[in-house]
Structure formats: structure tokens, C-alpha cells
């Protein structure tokens, strides 16, 4: 299959299948998780200032001194790559155009030099995070195939996207096709791996905050 055909396939059938599996998976997982529910808490709820689901949602995004102290580099690198990923995915003009085509939503993007810089920083931070996982004995011990696979699934789209937009390594048509197909691979696996935290972390945080708030503790 030549590279032109490959590109056309990933832009049409490939995208259709990947989005289809993604949507199917997300609906399935979210319904499955949230329908499980929790046992009703029959105790009288306590109140405490600064303790609620919403508080925890935001507080968990702040830097926690204890975790920072234990592994500063990995911790900060984690922040950096998440923010970089959001910038690259959501503020690049061509991605916004794609989202607009799929959903009708649109917003202004950043100039491409900023996106380039963000992409490089994201790649560096992700490599740091991987290095941490491999070098810290406990982290390495706890890591399994799923962890490394999730890292690779997230790293490849950023790498191939950067190479495509800078016209590096492979001819543009092929590089673009590889970028789109790596993003589609990521989409397919999000609902079925730990990457589903994109959707579930909000509910988890809120629940933790709410449950503990009812016990009078601010988490």
C-alpha cells in the first residue's frame, strides 16, 4: 500500500473505526464504573470549611509537598508533560480545525512556534518520567506492561506529530499518516487502559473529597 493510500485510509476508515471504538469504550466503561455506585452513607454528615468534592478536585491539582519531597524530578516532569500535552493537542490550529469538523466547537490557537516548543518540552518531560520509572527500584517493581504501553501510546503521537510538522525523518505524507494512525491507536486504547483516567479522575477526586468531607476531613 503506498503512502498516499495509507494517508487516505487513516483519514477516513481508520478514523471512523478508532473514534467508534473510543466512543463505545468510553460509554461502556463510564456506565460500568458509575453504575456500581457506593454503599449509602447513613451517618450524619459533618461540615468543615474547605472540605468538599469541589475543593478536592482543585486541591489535588496543586503540588503536594510530601510527594514532591520524595521524587521532585518525576513529579514536576509529570506536571510539565500533562500541561504540554494539553497545549499541543488543544491549542494547535490544525487540531482545533479537526475538533471543529467533528464537534462544531472551535477556539483560537497559539502560533506554531509555541506549539513546537511545547512539543519538545513535552517529549523531554516524558522521557524523564520514563527514566524515573525505570531507575527508581520501587517504581520499577510496581510497573507492568500496561504502564510502559500507556507511555508509548502517549509518546508516539507527540513525537510523530512534531516530526511531521517540521518535515523531518520521513517524507511528509508518510510521517503525517503515521502521526494520525498513532493518535488513532491511542484513542482505541484509552477506554481500556489506565489512560481512562482522562475521564474518571474527575469523578474519583470529587468522590474522595465528598466522602471525607462528610466525615469532617478536608483531603
Amino acid at each position: 500500500m503506498n503512502q498516499d493510500l495509507f494517508l487516505t485510509w487513516v483519514r477516513s476508515t481508520g478514523l471512523d473505526i478508532a473514534l467508534g471504538i473510543f466512543v463505545l469504550g468510553i460509554f461502556w466503561r463510564l456506565i460500568e464504573i458509575y453504575s456500581l455506585g457506593r454503599k449509602r452513607d447513613l451517618a450524619v454528615p459533618r461540615r468543615r470549611a474547605g472540605a468538599s468534592g469541589m475543593h478536592t478536585l482543585f486541591r489535588r491539582s496543586l503540588i503536594s509537598p510530601r510527594t514532591y519531597g520524595r521524587s521532585a524530578i518525576g513529579y514536576l516532569a509529570g506536571y510539565v508533560f500533562h500541561i504540554g500535552l494539553a497545549v499541543v493537542v488543544l491549542l494547535f490550529a490544525e487540531h482545533i480545525k479537526l475538533i471543529h469538523a467533528l464537534t462544531g466547537l472551535s477556539w483560537p490557537g497559539l502560533p506554531s512556534q509555541f506549539i513546537d516548543a511545547a512539543a519538545v518540552v513535552t517529549l523531554a518531560a516524558m522521557l524523564l518520567v520514563l527514566a524515573e520509572r525505570i531507575n527508581r527500584p520501587v517504581k520499577r517493581f510496581l510497573s507492568n506492561f500496561g504502564d510502559y504501553a500507556a507511555w508509548m501510546l502517549t509518546f508516539l503521537p507527540v513525537l510523530t506529530g512534531y516530526l511531521a510538522s517540521r518535515h523531518l525523518l520521513l517524507p511528509y505524507t508518510l510521517m503525517l499518516a503515521l502521526h494520525i494512525s498513532s493518535a488513532e491507536l491511542l484513542l482505541i486504547f484509552i477506554p481500556f487502559t489506565k489512560l481512562v483516567h482522562v475521564f474518571t479522575l474527575w469523578g474519583s477526586r470529587w468522590y474522595q473529597g465528598d466522602a471525607n468531607a462528610k466525615k469532617g476531613v478536608a483531603v
Binding site: D16, F27, E32, L36, E94, H95, K97, L98, L176
Partner: protein
């Protein structure tokens, strides 16, 4: 005119001076990205060249490729190529017709067996035994295979002959295939484009006559000197692309200011051709300069690559699965939840209370 008269004499007879011919060769050398010094060598070699026989077979085509070559803007210079070859068979350009024309073709092929150049435009249909396109009662497949046997080399002119072109687009009712799918034991060069730029055809013929072979080819069999770069790499609107200045409709301010046409579906980044440098109509302009995005016409399957007005970053066809996938996902989710609840209830009711006695057992 006999094949034996060298080109130099023929040109002199037509009042084309050596200097005029040298000018032509200088321009050709420049187009083919050959060093300017080779123009003299080009001219010397071409002038002494014996005119090879050229058979042009037209299959499932629209004649656009021939039109491109013959309607060129500066006829005196570009038509010189016709003086350098002996075009022994060409449906549109030949004066003869019917069985007489077929006989001259057969005679030329026999007399110059192993030495003639075969030019093909149009794709070759394969379904129903090739019945979709026949000439004088013979299928295109048959004619091509016969002509290829005695050909020194084959030039596939246009995207149809190079990659299948429009007949090959979905659903390909005639089973159209390109020349290279059928002929595998002879050198084949693909001059793709719908149509190809005239000087590409002229340049490759001149190169063959001078050097006895084809220029360096890319992975799709196209000469790198014309197809080595993408339109995007040489487009004069590239600064606008780099600055993120895109025209959003064909009549907005961006379009009037000549901004990049990427968002209007320009396939420049994925298309290899010389349009941005060599241009069309004697160097007048090319589609982007006229305000329309590149169609990607020199690439395989460009007809099936999504809308001409849909940017490369957009889906090439509408999504069909998402709505059903959502319903299916919800259904699975509900089904799994119900199954989970049943399991939970069953576990609960199957739960046996343990007593100290059990533990002491």
C-alpha cells in the same frame, strides 16, 4: 521523412538555427536541474541523434495529456521534440486512420524491434477480458503486451497510465490498472499529473535521446528532477502557511490577500510535482497562484483521497460508526452493570456467616 536524416539537417531545413536549438537545450537542461554546462553537450548529442521511432498508444484516457503537450504556449521551442522523434503512431495526431494506420504501426514495430520508444496514456481495463476498451477489435491489454515486447523503454504519460487515474477510482468498474502493473520486464518511467506539465514530457524524451536512458527516478518511478519536491516546498504562499495565515473561504479577505489555501483543501504538502517552479501555460501561473488549492493530481489515488476542499488535517470521509458505537457502548455498559449487580447479589445471598467453630476447624 526518413529516420536516417540526422536531426541537425532536419532543423536546418526548417530554418531552426543552431543557436535557437542551443537556447532550447539550455532551457531544457535548466528544467531538468542539469548543470548549465551540459546544455552544449545536450545540443551536440541531440543534433547528431538519429530520430527514434515512437509509438504512442492511447487507452482509457481523455486525451488531456496529448492536449497538454501539443497546446503548449511557445510552440516553436517545445514542438522541437516532435522533430527529434518519428511519431509513427498517435490516434489524435496522425493523419492516417483505420487499418492503414494499424498497418504502419505494425510495420514500425517490426522494423525497429527492440529500439522504439513506447509512450502510453490512459489506463488499461482488465474486467470482462478487457472488453471495456478495444482498438481495431483488440483489447488494450493485448496491444500493450505486444507493443512492449519490442520496446526499448516505456513512458507512461499522465496519472492514468502511471497509477490508474480516474478510471481506477472507486468503484473502478472497468478494472483499470496502470502500465506498471502489466509490464514488469522493461524500464517504465511514470510521468504523472492530470495532465503532466508539457516540459516534463519534452524533457524526459530529450534526456532519453541524449543519454540513452531515463533520469534518476523516485520510488514511484517518476523523474526526481521534476517530481523530487512537493508543491508545498516551493510554493510562493509558504510564508503565509508558516505564519498561520489561511484563507477560510474562496472570497474572504485572506483569499483576496493571497494567503495559504491549506484550509480550503490544498494538497500541496503531499503532492510531488514541478507546478510551483515550472508552472503552467508557459510559466504563467499554477492553480494555487490562481486561487485554488492543489488537487494532488500527480499522486496515486488522488481521486479517492477525500474532498478536494477538505484540508489534510480533516477526515477524508464522513464518520459512520460513532452514533451506533455510542449506543452499543451504552448497551454493553448497561449489560455489564446488570451482570455485575447480579453477581453482587448472588455473592451476598451466597454469603455464609462464619462462626468461631468454623475457624477452629
Amino acid at each position: 521523412m526518413s529516420h536516417q536524416a540526422a536531426l541537425g539537417e532536419r532543423l536546418a531545413e526548417q530554418g531552426i538555427s543552431r543557436r535557437a536549438f542551443l537556447k532550447f537545450c539550455t532551457a531544457l537542461a535548466s528544467m531538468m536541474a542539469l548543470p548549465p554546462g551540459t546544455a552544449t553537450a545536450f545540443a551536440e548529442a541531440l543534433v547528431k541523434a538519429m530520430r527514434p521511432s515512437v509509438i504512442w498508444l492511447s487507452f482509457q484516457e481523455c486525451t488531456g495529456c496529448t492536449e497538454s503537450l501539443t497546446r503548449s504556449d511557445s510552440p516553436a521551442l517545445e514542438h522541437l521534440i516532435f522533430d527529434m522523434i518519428s511519431l509513427d503512431y498517435h490516434h489524435t495526431l496522425q493523419a492516417a486512420s483505420g487499418y492503414g494506420a494499424e498497418k504502419s504501426r505494425e510495420d514500425a514495430m517490426k522494423s525497429f524491434f527492440g529500439k522504439y520508444l513506447l509512450l502510453v496514456d490512459g489506463s488499461i481495463p482488465m474486467k470482462e477480458g478487457g472488453a471495456y476498451s478495444t482498438i481495431a477489435g483488440r483489447t488494450n491489454l493485448d496491444l500493450l503486451q505486444e507493443a512492449a515486447k519490442g520496446a526499448a523503454a516505456i513512458i507512461a504519460v499522465g496519472t492514468c497510465a502511471s497509477f490508474g487515474g480516474i478510471p481506477n477510482a472507486k468503484p473502478n468498474p472497468t478494472g483499470a490498472v496502470p502500465v506498471s502493473d502489466i509490464i514488469r520486464n522493461k524500464p517504465v518511467i511514470n510521468l504523472s499529473g492530470c495532465p503532466p506539465i508539457p516540459v516534463v514530457i519534452t524533457g524526459v524524451l530529450a534526456h532519453y535521446l541524449t543519454f540513452g536512458g531515463f533520469p534518476e527516478l523516485d520510488s514511484l518511478g517518476r523523474p526526481k528532477s521534476f517530481y523530487g519536491e512537493t508543491i508545498h516546498d516551493r510554493c510562493y504562499r509558504r510564508p503565509f502557511f508558516d505564519q498561520g495565515k489561511f484563507a477560510r473561504t474562496f472570497d474572504d479577505e485572506g483569499a483576496r490577500n493571497g494567503w495559504c489555501l491549506f484550509e480550503l483543501g490544498c494538497k500541496g504538502p503531499t503532492t510531488h510535482n514541478a507546478c510551483a517552479t515550472t508552472k503552467w501555460n508557459g510559466g504563467t501561473s499554477f492553480p494555487i497562484e490562481s486561487g485554488h488549492g492543489c488537487l494532488g493530481c500527480s499522486e496515486p489515488n488522488f481521486w479517492d483521497a477525500g474532498s478536494f476542499y477538505s484540508a489534510l488535517s480533516m477526515p477524508a470521509s464522513p464518520l459512520k460508526l460513532t452514533a451506533d458505537a455510542a449506543i452499543a457502548g451504552a448497551a454493553i455498559g448497561v449489560a455489564v452493570s446488570v451482570a455485575n449487580r447480579i453477581k453482587k447479589r448472588a455473592a451476598k445471598s451466597a454469603h455464609e456467616t462464619a462462626t468461631i467453630a468454623d475457624l477452629e476447624k
